[in-house]
């Protein structure tokens, strides 16, 4: 079976912690590098994971970032504790953002997070309610 989960790496991401933001994605990137996955695939996964991690820091009350490794694909998954995305279609529009001015001063909140994640993915799933948001982004691994 090619869809058997081989291993899951999980990171607890705290809300508003801009100092730690990116540590989880950095760890994912280094792990994938050590596995010998090709550089362009790693780059796509790193960008997706980093945007997802930043979104958890900026927009959520905190949550989990997972990297699920399968034989033929990698899933980046985020699960947070709310407050949810009011309008997913709008959130997927380039340039649309609900981020605060203080977040923008840090270089984020330009409304490119979700569009970037989608752009670099092979498959993109999102579901959101007030209780939380679930995002699953798939990147297919190239045959070696």
């Amino acid at each position: 079976m090619t869809d058997k989960l081989l291993i899951r790496y999980s990171y607890n991401i705290a809300a508003n912690d801009f100092i730690a933001a990116g540590k989880g994605s950095s760890s994912i990137k280094n792990t994938l590098k050590s596995m010998g996955i090709d550089a362009s695939t790693i780059r796509r996964i790193a960008i997706i994971s980093y945007e997802a991690e930043i979104n958890l820091v900026i927009h959520s009350y905190g949550g989990m970032l997972h990297c699920d490794l399968y034989e033929n694909k990698i899933d980046i998954i985020t699960e947070d504790k709310g407050p949810g995305i009011e309008n997913i279609d709008l959130a997927l529009t380039e340039g649309y953002s609900t981020a605060t001015e203080s977040v923008r001063e840090l270089g984020f909140g330009a409304g490119m997070g979700l569009p970037n994640m989608k752009k670099y993915s092979d498959d993109f799933d999102i579901a959101s309610s007030r209780e939380g948001t679930f995002i699953k982004i798939t990147v297919l691994l190239q045959e070696v």
Partner: protein, 117 residues
């Protein structure tokens, strides 16, 4: 363009240096919005920014970029430098404003990135 040339053109200070004679930077990308960089930037690019925090280095790390240029005399804080050392990112700092720095690099042959590449 070699780091040595960039340094000379911009009279830049080298804060961290992981470059060698083979480090060649083809494109320049200037922004204070890291998501714009994440959307467009190629790995053989120079990230030119006035934003001074650790997320600049994280962005360079995710994009496999070797070099970041801080404009307008911004000097990175110790935590930014330490993250750059950890991730082997070269940091340059120039007194020139962003537009002036970009102009000088462009005149000397550095290319921009097309939005639809």
């Amino acid at each position: 363009m070699k780091i040595k040339e960039i340094k000379e053109i911009l009279n830049a200070e080298v804060i961290t240096d992981f470059s060698n004679e083979n480090t060649d930077i083809k494109y320049g990308f200037a922004s204070d919005l890291m998501s714009d960089a994440l959307a467009l930037v190629k790995s053989d690019s120079l990230l030119i920014t006035g934003l001074n925090n650790s997320q600049v280095i994280r962005t360079a790390e995710m994009l496999d970029m070797s070099t970041v240029l801080f404009v307008r005399g911004k000097r990175p804080c110790p935590d930014v430098v330490s993250l750059a050392l950890e991730n082997q990112v070269t940091i340059l700092s120039t007194e020139y404003t962003m537009f002036k720095a970009c102009s000088l690099l462009a005149i000397n042959g550095m290319e921009g990135i097309e939005a639809d590449d």
